[in-house]
């Protein structure tokens, strides 16, 4: 059975390949696409994996040139004593001797966490002491500092043996589970009330459920510090003995940050459940509570699960919130960054990345391949108009009790940012000021952010939608593999893509770090999947007969694409553009590894000044950033309206 299955798979692969190779245009285009995907997504992620299996040691190389011709004598007189002296130096792990005709070379490997300068100076001192004894036979001694990288599982060993490493894994997973549970719960209440609640509550909840989308992802951490930090308004006014730094802060901030994602997905599912089922149940005497638990929730379960998986991935990958309000609690995404910046320990950072990728990848595979197409469709065709039906108070009041505090919190958070931006130092000197807005570097970084976001927003949709066309309409071998590789950039947390890029693009011939274009490419690669999925969805809606007609009438494949397909999927391109632009303006996690002098982004500048304690300036730049995003989105909407293009 399995053999025949394998055979049929191979057969199909072979026939796909033959078909593919007979079309040089398609083959060339696909190859370029695959090479780009490999280069900018797969290899960087792969190099993180490889890095995690290595350990780098500092080494000192000692070269002595011989005056004596006899090698045996030289060894006895010079190399032997040197080796003897070196072996007793603190921190030495291994010595190796490479002696040739004229010189003797001793490579000394030190402990992983030993300082090479100290090793060098200790060796110099030891050799100097010996110098009297072999002065005659040595011409000159040279010392070189170096590194030696060895394949090893030792970094994983250290990860599991030190609690300050594996604790980060535990914390991240606990955080993701807690955040996901809360977000799904709250988002369900928002979505349910937004659809079935009384009129006065619907619109505000819809707006508030989506509002956090336009804010930089760590802005809520920032305002929570203003509210409930050690000097926060609430902490001070109520003389609270505790503050929000640590777990409570991170969870609250994440809940608000990821609410829109949960809300959008769950609302979509609830909307697609036809009201006729509710009506039927109601007619048969079921109470509102019964309908909720026995009809609505079971029917929307796959959609809710999908939302939960995505929130889980986002929470584990989140960088800004734990960074600002984490208060020293370790989480994988931020600690990987700290391992890099505080001790240049890229190996351990890579191990962190591996544990960061694993849960995300598992969730992603479940989401992408197992849950796909698992929604229960209650009717075919268009979503139905939901009829006004009185919501049972037994549902209404508990849900309001959840939704109202969260809604108020969202409003307060935005308000705090605005107040913080115009106040000298909140709670110390509450006078009005505009000084926080006068940061030349902040303004410059805003311009860089615009450049960055627009650049990425042009590349990602063009590439993504072209790829979707190849994947949906053309016969190419290993289609699923190509698709998976392209989606990888989204599934993998930003920290991993950042570290992958600094590992893979730091040396010639692929020396791209330090350039501005690498930032744009990184952002485009990470958001490729959204444009790809938008393209795929759109293409499924367009009947292939249209393209076949064009080809039958003599149009070339290229002409068909540009003249027939492109105008039809223009809305997918535009959606990809808008999405990539929005997330580009607020990007933090991968780009923080890649910024160099002159390339600072506004979102990272906010993070930096907030860390320095300049909360007012952080608020001011956030306000400007949000304003710029809104102006741009407004402009896009206007432009789309004027040119009659659909963008949302």
């Amino acid at each position: 059975m399995s053999l025949s299955l394998q055979n049929s798979f191979l057969h199909e692969l072979a026939s796909d390949t033959r078909h593919f190779l007979r079309r040089p245009g398609l083959a060339a285009l696909t190859s370029v696409a695959v090479i780009l995907i490999l280069l900018f997504i797969v290899f960087p992620v792969g190099s993180v994996l490889l890095k995690s299996f290595t350990v780098t040691y500092p080494t000192v190389t000692v070269r002595c040139q011989s005056k004596v011709s006899n090698r045996a004598d030289f060894k006895e007189l010079v190399t032997g004593p040197i080796l003897g002296a070196i072996r007793s130096i603190e921190g030495v792990e291994e010595t190796r001797e490479l002696t040739d005709e004229e010189s003797s070379v001793v490579v000394v490997r030190f402990r992983r966490d030993w300082d090479d300068l100290r090793g060098l100076n200790d060796i110099k001192r030891a050799v100097q002491k010996l110098q009297g004894t072999f002065a005659l036979s040595v011409e000159n001694i040279k010392y070189e500092l170096g590194q030696e990288t060895i394949k090893s599982l030792a970094t994983y060993g250290r990860f599991f043996s030190k609690s300050y490493y594996y604790r980060a894994l535990k914390n991240s997973i606990v955080l993701a589970i807690v955040t996901t549970t809360i977000v799904v719960f709250v988002a369900f209440c928002f979505a349910y009330l937004g659809l079935h609640g009384p009129g006065f509550i619907k619109a505000p909840l819809r707006v508030l459920g989506l509002l956090p989308l336009i804010a930089p992802p760590f802005i809520f951490a920032l305002s929570l510090i203003l509210i409930g930090g050690r000097m926060g308004i609430l902490t001070r006014l109520l003389h609270l003995p505790f503050n929000l730094y640590g777990w409570p802060g991170v969870i609250t901030a994440q809940m608000i940050t990821f609410l829109p994602l949960g809300y959008l997905l769950i609302e979509n599912v609830l909307r697609s459940i036809g009201s006729h089922l509710d009506e039927a149940a109601s007619d048969m005497g079921a109470s509102g509570v019964d309908i909720l638990f026995k009809v609505t929730i079971p029917l929307s379960a796959p959609g809710i699960l999908k939302a939960a998986l995505l929130v889980f991935i986002m929470s584990i990958a989140d960088f800004g919130n734990p960074m600002l309000i984490g208060g020293g609690v370790s989480f994988l995404a931020t600690d990987a960054y700290f391992l890099w910046i505080s001790e240049n320990n890229l190996e351990m950072a890579a191990v962190f990345c591996v544990f960061l990728v694993l849960p995300s990848l598992i969730m992603f595979v479940i989401h992408q391949y197992i849950l796909k197409g698992r929604e229960y469709t209650t009717i075919g065709g268009k979503p139905q108009q939901v009829e006004e039906r009185r919501i049972s108070p037994k549902i209404f009041y508990p849900m309001m009790a959840v939704a109202i505090p969260v809604a108020l919190m969202i409003i307060t958070c935005f308000g705090m940012i605005l107040i913080g931006a115009f106040t000298k130092i909140l709670m110390i000197d509450n006078s009005f000021t505009l000084e926080h807005f006068q940061s030349t570097n902040g303004l410059r970084s805003l311009l860089t952010s615009l450049k960055f976001a627009f650049g990425a927003a042009l590349i990602a949709p063009i590439f993504g939608v072209t790829l979707s066309y190849i994947l949906v309409r053309k016969r190419i071998p290993l289609k699923r593999v190509v698709e998976f590789m392209a989606l990888l950039g989204f599934a993998v947390p930003g920290t991993v893509m950042g570290i992958g890029y600094i590992l893979f693009f730091n040396s010639p011939p692929l020396k791209l770090t330090g350039t501005f274009i690498i930032l744009i490419i990184n952002e485009a690669a990470r958001n490729l999947s959204v444009s790809l999925e938008a393209g795929v969805a759109k293409l499924h809606q367009i009947d292939i007969a249209i393209e076949e007609a064009a080809i039958d009438m003599g149009a070339s494949s290229f002409r068909t694409f540009t003249r027939v397909v492109l105008p039809l999927i223009s809305s997918a391109l535009a959606a990809g553009f808008v999405y990539t632009f929005m997330v580009g303006m607020i990007a933090v996690s991968a780009v923080i590894f890649l910024i160099t002098p002159g390339n600072n982004l506004a979102s990272l500048y906010i993070l930096a000044v907030a860390e320095e304690g300049f909360l007012g300036m952080a608020c001011a730049i956030s306000v400007m950033l949000i304003a710029v995003v809104m102006i741009c989105l407004g402009g896009l909407k206007l432009l789309a309206h004027y040119t009659k293009t659909t963008i949302f």
Partner: protein, 332 residues
């Protein structure tokens, strides 16, 4: 494509290109890219002044703490993404010189600056020095009925439990300087005991050495460990804080500059070193920093702070070892 859609994409592409045009400097102006550990508010003033002096545009790194800067430089070696480092720890300058990260430059301007402030072969130049100090919020101390700390040992007093904010020696040069100072003052064995007790009092470790000054000034914590000008600058701004030089003495660091190998703007880098060593440059920096290295030019601190005979070489030789011990002890 329909005309509308074509117009839509045309406008978008044109807009993107025009943003690139505005903000990308023309090829003709030479740009000097520098890594720095200086504070954001310092660099916002230093860079324009230096730009005037060298006649080129300066692009500086995002704010980095000293060890962060050094990690980045090590990770990039030998393909650095900046032309030079303007401001980093002297201990790192020594390590970098040995590893061959830098290009030598013997600036004529620096000829009459004492030899102790520069590398004999010209790999690094030290233009000012700063020291670690303790900062305390007087109002908060009074409110909480706490005494003003006077020494490193005072900071280990359990009354300060949860009231001290200190930078993380993993990232911050200030913190590593303080830890090295404690090691050099008390000896390594006693030094660890002091740090052990201090750690019990510390409520938060920050990334940079300036952040504790800001947090203490804003009244988030009563006591902090920071560096001289981060404290005095805020005293002058009127915050209710006081800078304290611990009675056992404190360590100072020689702020250094060096040209990175592969520098794409050697002329600019050398001009900047010349300017920093010149009377004008030193006088300018002296308005921001406590002491500058050109004799006869005053910094902001006129008195002689109680500085120990700090051994930067020791710091360069032992940083990794001390930090891995630190992690094992305090990051359980």
């Amino acid at each position: 494509m329909q005309r509308g859609k074509r117009l839509f994409w045309f406008v978008l592409v044109a807009f993107t290109i025009s943003i690139f045009m505005i903000s990308t400097p023309a090829q003709a102006d030479k740009v000097l890219k520098v890594y720095t550990n200086a504070d954001i508010n310092e660099m916002e003033k230093w860079a324009p002044e230096a730009e005037k002096a060298i006649g080129m545009k300066i692009q500086w790194s995002p704010r980095m703490s000293s060890n962060e800067l050094w990690s980045r430089v090590q990770a990039e070696a030998p393909n650095f993404n900046a032309d030079m480092i303007w401001g980093f720890l002297n201990a790192h300058a020594m390590v970098g010189t040995q590893r061959g990260y830098f290009l030598p430059y013997k600036s004529p301007v620096w000829a009459d600056i004492p030899a102790e402030f520069k590398d004999p072969a010209g790999y690094w130049h030290g233009y000012n020095y700063w020291f670690a100090a303790v900062v305390a919020n007087k109002d908060l101390l009074k409110k909480k009925n706490l005494p003003l700390p006077k020494s490193w040992l005072d900071l280990t007093n359990p009354v300060y439990q949860g009231e001290i904010v200190m930078p993380n020696p993993g990232t911050s040069g200030t913190a590593f300087l303080s830890v090295s100072a404690i090691m050099q003052i008390f000896g390594e064995k006693k030094g660890w005991e002091v740090l052990e007790k201090l750690n019990k009092n510390v409520a938060q470790y920050t990334k940079s050495g300036s952040a504790p000054s800001q947090l203490v000034a804003q009244g988030e914590y009563a006591v902090g460990i920071s560096w001289d000008q981060a404290i005095y600058g805020r005293v002058e701004k009127g915050f209710p804080i006081e800078g304290i030089i611990p009675s056992e003495g404190t360590a100072f660091d020689l702020e250094s500059v060096a040209i990175l190998k592969g520098c794409k703007n050697l002329e600019g880098a050398q001009k900047l070193i010349d300017w920093l060593g010149s009377k004008e440059g030193m006088t300018f920096i002296g308005k921001f920093r406590s002491k500058v290295t050109r004799p006869g030019i005053l910094g902001r601190v006129q008195l002689d702070p109680d500085l120990i005979k700090y051994d930067a070489l020791w710091a360069g030789e032992n940083q990794k070892r001390i930090m891995s011990e630190w992690k094992n002890r305090f990051q359980k």
